[in-house]
């Protein structure tokens, strides 16, 4: 025996395998097959948690994932600490360490329980009415106190070392829920040959049957049928069986997310296994077989430990061999609680009385009486006695005139309640299926589906075991058929078992107490009482969504699984309308909570986002490169020699390019090949430039805008053949420019015969820049004359470089003579080796992105995204010359024609010159006319680029300034925290204005 409440025999636990665990530091023993909840119950632990607001002691209410009270923290180590787990979902394992939550210093003695005394003040929404004075006290005093009191578990303090997996699968039929209906559905679908996934949140399939050992199917014990069915399913190669797997989210187009708990139940998990696995299933057809949830009755002090659902008590006794008490009072509005009474009595529990709310009871009443049980109909519970555990109840007698009076006191340590069962329509509703109100059974049921989904069994309002099996089988067969598989002969099952009562009673049960003062709990976890809901209605919160938000009913971790219908009924009664008129609140994902880690999966560290490296990355690493992140790319920022600082390296690289030659890995530039008979027309419309007449063998610097006319990207368009262009984009713009091209090709100009293909990774690109560039390159080039007249600036040709087939561009982003060699990516590293050796031979340098930035700024070339920000036109940044104004149309033409995109007041790109050559302005600094601007002063613009220029021996800056070009020669001010810096507006070109070096 593992505790005073363990039955001598019975249950699905393995009594040969005792398991030691601790709860709040005390050692206990349970059996293999126990949950933390069943083991604690067996040990006689009544109080398992404290409620959210009043810190009332609370016990177990349900045996499933809908449990509102028993939230615990399970601790393996600092990083493997999991708060807020439902004790029913924690399977016992050797050495399990669990702790209760939301109490201090201990569960038995919790200081915050004084809140319970203040409950007359702490009614729903009280915090909206107070804590407003003095003003500063809200965030300094009241809020911190409230925050400290709120919340349940504590988050772990160390990083979670466990792994999480994700699987992406398709199937023909997904069956959510492995009770009788789900098993039958899976069986039918499997027989048709469909690919089937069957999942259930519990550790074993069987659902409600696991708690009902006496049930039979086709004349055999249900357990045998389950075993045989599972064996059949397992033998089907196209069936996947997933236990401990909850279908928690129904997304669009039959995309269903499942969470599988893989290792939490293992004592010593294999470190290679993920802790959990997120299955993302695209199912042709879905069968929802999610069962039903029992509803508690709502009556005064119904939250005392020992008041629990009848079905839960029955499950504990039948499935786990735990009798939850010694003397039980049963309070029911449905027949199903009678089954619990019989089963508990068989296990030796004294059934003190059955109080049936229904005036004449139900069919089970006579049976119970015949079996010797005392049943009182038209009766209920007036209030519960006891605080940390039930000690008794005062009965309530309902008189014919509708009033209720307190009756006698019954001593007991257990109260079983059942108001009836609520079909679990969560998934159906998440799938945006319409619910319908079934007046006969007073319940919401799945109506017209929105997705290819069917509901079967208790979640569809089906009550008897045989009907659930029949309906499940039919649903599985129909789903498989609709997924394109063959017909399966219809099957009927003969079965005996308890039928659940759909419908029943909802709302606050009648009692003799003062309804404005007694607390009959609706939402146990959030301490929402029936009078709280009535208060909300009184204060004008009529919509059920308002009631929910004002009282917080249904917003706890259980998302109102046991409470929503009762809350709805209380609200309906208070507003004088009916349940269907009030309507349900939205069912939101997930069905049960899901770890962040499961969503994140393997996406952590380097796998968080792909790392893109150029073909010569390893070479740059060897050369000492310091890398920076540019989008997903790793780019060499600079390549310091041993012992050299980054700043010194950049200065050296910059000088060296101007003096001799430099090699730069430009492979990250976006590249798009635009091909087709209409390629020239397309590019002519896409870019602002006139490109239709670009000769073969020539390149052009291009600017792209969107419809709005603002600079979006820039690059080079090179014409390789009449119908073939090699287009480059900025590194960051590669994907979005390609997407924009596709957008126009597919939606605006589908008539154009053009393909745009991303070829960024296809080519490695090495830039050779500097006066010696030709000398470095020429000996390696075959099939092309590099002489200035033969291959002038802005030329392109195919040739071989160092024996590698290449596309050679004569272009420059430095202002020096320059070439860019494109070779197939596989040859990138080899080309680098050859070029690097030759550059070194000419006294040149390898250089990185920072030197590239300084060089281009010296020359006044803009960097899109740095000198532009999506609000500047080509003309604003000095690229007005690029706009083919004569063109009939281009992307952005209409946008550019809008009045405010031209005329005075536009910000224009200029240079700034500060007297003191040592001063380097700060990028992002604002520019004002006033040297001492008061707060709120209008900024004329801002500094976009600023560097120390080694070649000029002074700081240089680019800026965008209102009417900047007409301000050239005037003084503006750059306000800094320590005072303003005066600067002269100058032209934005600091180096070789005539461009002689470019054309050398």
């Amino acid at each position: 025996m593992t505790g005073p409440f363990r039955t001598p025999t019975g249950g699905r636990i393995d009594r040969t395998r005792p398991i030691a665990f601790t709860f709040d530091g005390r050692r206990y023993t349970g059996f293999q097959g126990d949950t933390l909840a069943s083991a604690l119950l067996a040990a006689g632990v009544k109080v398992v948690g404290r409620s959210f607001k009043y810190h009332r002691p609370r016990g177990l209410v349900s045996a499933g994932s809908d449990e509102p009270n028993a939230l615990v923290t399970v601790i393996r180590d600092a990083g493997r600490t999991t708060p807020n787990l439902v004790a029913n979902e924690v399977e016992l394992r050797e050495g399990l360490v669990a702790e209760s939550q939301n109490r201090w210093p201990s569960l038995a003695f919790d200081v915050s329980a004084v809140n319970d005394l203040l409950s007359p003040i702490f009614v729903s929404g009280f915090y909206y009415k107070t804590f407003m004075w003095p003003k500063s006290f809200w965030s300094k005093v009241f809020e911190p106190v409230i925050r400290a009191a709120a919340g349940f578990g504590r988050a772990p303090t160390a990083a979670d070392p466990d792994g999480y997996a994700q699987r992406f699968v398709h199937c023909d039929v997904l069956v959510a829920g492995g009770g009788p209906a789900g098993l039958a559905a899976a069986l039918a679908a499997a027989e048709s040959g469909a690919r089937v996934i069957l999942c259930d949140e519990g550790p074993e399939f069987g659902g409600s049957l696991l708690a009902e050992p006496a049930a039979t199917i086709d004349s055999a014990p249900a357990a045998q049928w389950i075993a045989a069915t599972l064996a059949t399913l397992a033998a089907h190669p196209r069936v996947t069986l997933l236990t401990r797997t909850c279908a928690f989210g129904y997304y669009q187009d039959n995309f269903v997310a499942l969470l599988e708990r893989v290792t939490d139940h293992r004592a010593a998990p294999d470190p290679a296994l993920p802790r959990e696995c997120l299955w993302q299933v695209r199912a042709a057809q879905v069968v929802i077989a999610a069962g039903a949830l029992e509803r508690p009755l709502v009556f005064p002090d119904n939250d005392r430990p020992g008041v629990m659902l009848a079905g839960a008590a029955r499950a504990w006794v039948n499935r786990w061999g735990v009798a939850a008490g010694a003397r039980a009072v049963v309070y029911t509005a449905s027949d199903s609680a009678y089954a619990a009474a019989h089963d508990l009595r068989s296990a030796g529990v004294e059934i003190v009385r059955i109080l049936d709310l229904r005036p004449d009871g139900g069919p089970a009443t006579a049976v119970a009486r015949a079996a010797g049980l005392t049943v009182e109909t038209g009766a209920g519970i007036d209030r519960v006695l006891g605080s940390t555990a039930v000690t008794g109840v005062v009965t309530a007698r309902h008189r014919a005139d509708g009033t209720t009076a307190a009756g006698e006191t019954l001593a007991c340590d257990l109260v079983l309640t059942s108001a009836g069962w609520t079909p679990s329509v969560h998934l159906f509703s998440q799938s945006r299926g319409r619910l319908r109100w079934d007046a006969a059974r007073a319940t919401f049921l799945p109506g017209t589906p929105h997705e290819a989904a069917r509901s079967a069994g208790a979640c569809n309002g089906t009550a008897s075991l045989a009907d659930c099996l029949d309906e499940g089988f039919a649903a599985g067969a129909a789903a498989a058929r609709d997924a394109g598989h063959g017909a399966v002969a219809a099957r009927r099952f003969a079965a005996t078992g308890t039928a659940i009562d759909i419908g029943g009673f909802a709302g606050e049960a009648p009692h003799g107490g003062n309804r404005d003062r007694t607390r009959a709990f609706v939402d146990l976890q959030h301490d929402v009482t029936a009078k709280d809901i009535r208060l909300a209605v009184r204060e004008g919160f009529r919509s059920i969504e308002h009631v929910k938000r004002y009282t917080t009913t249904g917003m706890a971790t259980d998302q109102g699984k046991t409470s929503n219908i009762n809350a709805l009924a209380v609200a309906a009664a208070a507003t004088g309308t009916s349940l269907p008129a009030v309507g349900l609140t939205t069912f939101r994902r997930p069905y049960t909570p899901v770890s962040f880690g499961a969503f994140a999966g393997a996406s952590r560290g380097d796998l968080f986002d792909p790392v893109r490296r150029t073909p010569a990355h390893a070479r740059a690493t060897v050369a000492g490169a310091v890398f920076e992140d540019v989008g997903q790319w790793k780019r060499a920022l600079c390549l310091p020699a041993p012992g050299e600082s980054e700043g010194a390296a950049v200065a050296r690289e910059v000088r060296s390019v101007r003096a001799t030659v430099g090699l730069f890995d430009a492979s990250t530039l976006g590249k798009i090949e635009v091909v087709g008979p209409d390629a020239a027309t397309f590019l002519d419309r896409f870019y602002v430039n006139a490109l239709a007449k670009l000769p073969v063998g020539r390149c052009r610097y291009v600017v792209a805008t969107r419809d709005d006319g603002f600079v979006y990207d820039d690059g080079i368009v090179a014409r390789l053949a009449p119908d073939r262009f090699h287009v480059t984009t900025t590194t960051g713009g590669a994907a979005r420019v390609h997407a924009l091209m596709e957008d126009f090709l597919q939606t605006e100009w589908p008539d154009l015969d053009v393909w745009a293909t991303s070829i960024t990774e296809r080519w490695a690109v090495m830039a050779i820049q500097g006066p010696q560039a030709r000398a470095v390159l020429a000996p390696l080039v075959e099939g092309l004359d590099l002489a200035p007249e033969a291959f002038p600036h802005m030329s392109v040709a195919t040739c071989t470089v160092a024996g590698i087939p290449a596309r050679l561009f004569r272009v420059s982003f430095t202002g020096e003579l320059g070439f860019e060699v494109n070779v197939p990516a596989d040859h990138g590293a080899a080309l680098w080796d050859r070029l690097a050796a030759r550059v070194a031979g000419h006294g040149g340098t390898l250089y990185g992105t920072e030197a590239m930035h300084v060089l281009r700024a010296e020359k006044g070339y803009v960097v899109v995204g740095q000198d532009t920000d999506g609000t500047l036109t080509p003309d604003d940044v000095g690229l007005g010359w690029a706009v083919g104004r004569a063109k009939a149309d281009f992307v952005g033409k209409a946008g550019l024609a809008r009045p405010d995109l031209a005329g005075p007041g536009r910000r224009q790109l200029v240079g700034l010159r500060v007297e003191d050559p040592e001063v380097v302005l700060v990028e992002g600094a604002q520019i004002t006319a006033d040297p001492a601007p008061p707060p709120g002063t209008h900024a004329l613009g801002h500094v976009t680029s600023a560097y120390a220029s080694p070649n000029l021996g002074r700081g240089i800056a680019l800026a965008v300034v209102e009417d900047g070009r007409s301000r050239i020669g005037t003084i503006v001010h750059v306000p800094m925290p320590g005072g303003s810096i005066a600067a002269t507006v100058v032209a934005p070109v600091f180096w070789d204005e005539e461009g002689r070096r470019l054309h050398a």
């Binding site: 999991t82 708060p83 807020n84 003040i121 009415k129 107070t130 804590f131 003003k135 809200w138 965030s139 809020e143 925050r147 709120a150 919340g151 349940f152 504590r154 988050a155 772990p156 990083a159 466990d162 999480y164 995309f255 993302q280 945006r432 404005d516 009078k531 004008g540 919160f541 919509s543 969504e545 004002y550 917080t552 917003m555 997930p590 909570p593 899901v594 770890s595 962040f596 880690g597 969503f599 999966g601 996406s603 952590r604 968080f608 986002d609 920076e628 540019v630 709005d708 740095q866 999506g870 609000t871 809008r898 405010d900 995109l901 992002g924 600094a925 004002t928 900024a939 801002h942 306000p975």
Partner: protein, 417 residues
């Protein structure tokens, strides 16, 4: 009845039987001086300010469902004003200043909690862009400061500032005056205060038509609760504004509606004391007073009116959260939902008169209009009362799209919320 601790105490003795309705639910009158379409925070605030500040009390707010049921009740409640462009700075700071006294003004605890907004910079480009923000905000007189990674972690313990993550944190800006508030309370607080001043709040009242006279000016509207005559209509219907304005023959607005998702964890004891936003890796987080971690992301990519979104967005948000806070992997998502946000091309709102005389509009707040609730309401009220745009609202007129005078925070700053 005034709300205070004393009144709460007094009512405790009478078992709270005497609390009146927080706002009246009257039958529609045949005519009003002004009708506001849309009972979100913005619409209710506009009605309140019309009555409280501009003396126009014969006002109705018509709401097709329940007040606050749109984005006002679905957002992640980030309030800040450290925007980049001068027009935006003025707009959002106008609102922030109202937030600072809102609970007292409304006599309703809206739980405005200026706990600080930490915006993380990852990499060189972010640092550059944030520097520009800092200088712009300093010039505008808006508080914002730069924190090193270590300082950021000191302000927000638990933040992962390791250099080994994929996009290491290079620093952060902090606006201490920024924070969060309780969204429902803002809606109810404005409703209660407006109702007390005589504003009629008409729920379950959908506008189905807008009537115009021979001169083109509005004369009234048709609703599911009957026709209402009025000469001034303020439309504040968020994502459905296009639909409403089409009823006045205004054609389509430059708005695109997309789902935006958010989620909360189960309640936890306090662990994140401020708001942390990372635009580069697309996630932001704060912790509600109840203990839930409140987490949001970027928008779903597809245009849609269905208030739900895809799992991949949730996954991408949570992987970013787990990068920033690796000890949260075992924390669990409790609830996930979506709202439909109304985005303009420049990601700035539209606020002002329309070409139809008597018709005013306030929309296009996209992913970031909660923070503007009191300010936008105030400006809309001022604009309706005066018949012309309030100076702070003036740059945000509908005509800017045709003129090209865009206020492009998104392009310039790429920061949502």
């Amino acid at each position: 009845m005034r709300f205070s601790f004393l009144s709460l105490l007094r009512n405790a003795f009478s078992a709270h039987r005497d609390w009146p309705e927080q706002w009246r639910s009257p039958e529609p009158k045949p005519a009003y001086d002004v009708v506001i379409v849309g009972g979100g925070g913005h619409g209710l605030a506009a009605a309140y300010f019309l009555a409280a500040e501009f003396g126009i009390r014969n006002v109705a707010v018509v709401e097709r469902g329940w007040i606050g049921g749109g984005n006002s009740g679905r957002n992640t409640t980030i309030v800040r004003s450290n925007y980049l462009l001068e027009d935006s700075e003025a707009l959002y700071d106008h609102s922030l200043k109202i937030w600072e006294n809102l609970s007292q003004t409304l006599n309703y605890n809206v739980m405005f909690s200026p706990r600080g907004i930490l915006m993380l910079a990852h990499g060189h480009h972010d640092v550059q862009s944030f520097t520009r923000h800092l200088h712009a905000n300093r010039l505008a007189g808006i508080d914002s400061e730069w924190l090193s990674p270590e300082e950021a972690r000191a302000f927000c313990p638990g933040l992962n500032i390791s250099k080994d993550i994929r996009y290491p944190i290079g620093g952060a800006t902090l606006q201490r005056r920024g924070g969060v508030a309780r969204h429902d309370a803002v809606v109810w607080g404005f409703a209660r205060a407006a109702s007390a001043l005589g504003v009629d709040i008409l729920q379950n009242c959908e506008v189905t038509g807008i009537r115009r006279g021979p001169d083109g000016a509005v004369t009234g509207l048709d609703t599911t609760r009957g026709a209402i005559a009025t000469r001034k209509i303020g439309v504040s219907a968020a994502g459905h504004t296009s639909v409403v304005l089409e009823m006045a023959g205004l054609g389509r607005l430059p708005l695109e509606s997309t789902p935006l998702q958010a989620l909360v964890s189960e309640p936890l004891k306090p662990l994140i004391s401020c708001v942390v936003m990372s635009n580069t890796i697309h996630a932001y987080i704060s912790q509600s007073d109840k203990g839930d971690l409140v987490i949001g992301a970027g928008t779903d990519q597809y245009v849609s009116y269905s208030q739900t979104g895809g799992l991949q967005i949730t996954a991408h948000t949570l992987d970013a959260i787990c990068e920033l806070f690796p000890h949260l992997r075992r924390v669990r998502m409790m609830r996930n939902w979506g709202g439909i946000v109304d985005n303009t091309v420049d990601r700035s709102p539209i606020l002002g008169p329309t070409p139809v005389p008597g018709l005013f509009v306030n929309c296009g707040w996209g992913t970031g209009g909660f923070k503007a609730t009191p300010g936008a309401g105030h400006l809309l009220a001022a604009t309706i009362a005066r018949g012309e745009a309030h100076p702070i609202a003036a740059p945000f007129g509908l005509d800017r799209f045709a003129r090209g005078r865009l206020i492009d925070e998104a392009a310039a700053a790429a920061v949502a919320h």
